[in-house]
């Protein structure tokens, strides 16, 4: 059976079709939570809140959605803006706490502790947290959300070359942080 595309569902949503809304939520709600969860360094509650807010904003702006453009980058663009705002607020709180002489809560996993941890999950979380936000966005959209580099460029409203450059630098850094090259050499030698 032929699957209805996201863009067709979005067009139905523009006409107020509730079934289209259910289908889009069904397809994209969990992946959005995953994107925001990883982007925010593993903050589940904020990821759930922002995923809901992303859909609300998408719904409010659905009239302005251009059906000739892919839906997924459009939706992730909204989520990315929300996540950036959230990250900026968190950074402000951190700076304010520093000025007031309060130890801010450390919501990013400790690199040292995580790398020493046997669990690969923590290593990955810590490694991603080390990346600048714009590189983290590209990595998560590319590796976890299965967006093409072209779609990432649309979602982040940056040129394709910028996406490639950010991905290149991010991958290079991640390989170092996750000691993949060190891992590969003994394997290749063996």
């Amino acid at each position: 059976m032929e699957t209805i595309s996201d863009e067709q569902l979005a067009a139905r949503l523009q006409r107020g079709d509730r079934m289209a809304l259910n289908a889009l939520v069904d397809r994209h709600y969990d992946p959005l939570i995953g994107y925001l969860y990883r982007l925010l360094g593993g903050d589940r509650d904020h990821a759930l809140d922002l995923a809901q807010e992303t859909f609300l904003r998408a719904l409010r702006g659905i009239e302005g959605y251009d059906r000739s453009r892919p839906f997924k980058p459009w939706l992730y663009a909204i989520a990315t803006h929300l996540a950036r705002d959230q990250a900026a607020r968190a950074e402000n709180r951190r700076v304010q706490a520093w000025h007031e002489g309060i130890d801010p809560p450390d919501d990013s996993p400790s690199q040292e502790g995580a790398l020493m941890d046997a669990e690969s999950t923590h290593q990955v979380q810590a490694a991603l947290a080390q990346l600048p936000l714009e590189q983290r966005e590209v990595v998560i959209l590319f590796y976890y959300q299965d967006l093409s580099q072209h779609q990432i460029a649309q979602a982040l409203a940056v040129p394709l070359g910028t996406v490639k450059s950010r991905l290149h630098h991010a991958v290079h850094r991640l390989r170092g942080l996750l000691e993949i090259d060190a891992l590969r050499v003994p394997l290749e030698e063996g």
Binding site: L13, L21, Q123, H168, H172
Partner: protein
């Protein structure tokens, strides 16, 4: 795509960090919230306009329809009885009554005790300006149709010329007075005052037409002659301006907030 980004080891390592998924309850909660913000499905424009008009027929007070029909009926009857050959259309009682009736109707489109359907109206996805416009169009259209209809029996009793003159004589003042009454009821928020002011203006105009202008008090002498042919374009222009201002004010919503303490 370069080989570096295709690195299967990097992909596998990244995939080890699993993200949470929403529970069914969380999903239902989100869907319920989103359903409220769902765009409203609008019918085709013509059907939409018809539905708004039909909804407003029930809101406009029955007395407005009945009183308009009764007064215009009596006006037509009296005009037919009093008509004498050579009489001008503007001198017929119907020409004097029609603008008054239309202004009264427009005064009571909006006001403290004339809007029983406000709760219903506030839950519909239609702006207050559109609602008021629909009501004005209904009442004005009703009076216009009745008065045009009244010209038929007048033509039958031999007042062909007078019937035509009647239509041209009352249309401009009727439009302007209706717009003024409509403006007054929305801005002053008082249907009674609005009806009084517009009736008074019309009363003075009628008095001025039949009385000696020199005998009028000085203040009333400076008022424009609403029956004058050259005044007609101005009367239509003023009416359009008044309706536009009224709709702008009503769209701001503060008149409703003031009325209903929202």
């Amino acid at each position: 795509m370069n080989d570096e980004t295709r690195d299967p080891i990097l992909k596998a390592r990244l995939a080890s960090w699993q993200a949470p998924i929403a529970t069914q309850a969380q999903r239902d909660h989100v869907l319920a919230r989103l359903a409220v913000a769902l765009p409203t499905r609008q019918p085709p424009r013509l059907l939409w306009a018809w539905l708004i008009m039909r909804a407003q027929v029930r809101v406009v007070h029955r007395l407005i329809w009945a009183a308009s029909a009764l007064i215009l009926g009596i006006g037509t009857l009296v005009s037919a009885i009093l008509y004498r050959p050579g009489m001008e259309g503007a001198d017929l009682p119907l020409a004097l009554v029609a603008p008054f009736v239309a202004a009264l109707g427009a005064s009571f489109l909006y006001g403290e005790d004339v809007d029983p359907g406000i709760e219903l109206q506030m839950t519909t996805p239609v702006g207050p300006a559109l609602v008021l416009m629909a009501r004005l169009a209904l009442v004005f259209g009703f009076n216009l149709a009745l008065t045009l209809l009244a010209a038929v029996p007048l033509a039958l009793v031999g007042a062909h010329g007078a019937a035509l003159g009647l239509v041209t004589a009352w249309l401009a003042p009727m439009t302007c007075l209706s717009a003024l009454a409509f403006f007054g009821s929305v801005v002053l928020n008082e249907a009674g005052i609005s009806a009084f002011v517009s009736s008074a203006i019309w009363g003075v105009s009628v008095w001025r037409r039949f009385a000696d202008v020199g005998a009028l008090p000085p203040l009333l002498r400076v008022l424009p002659d609403l029956f004058a042919v050259e005044a007609r374009p101005w009367l239509f222009a003023v009416a359009a301006l008044l309706v536009a201002i009224t709709l702008l004010i009503s769209e701001r919503g503060d008149t409703q907030e003031r009325r209903y303490g929202l």
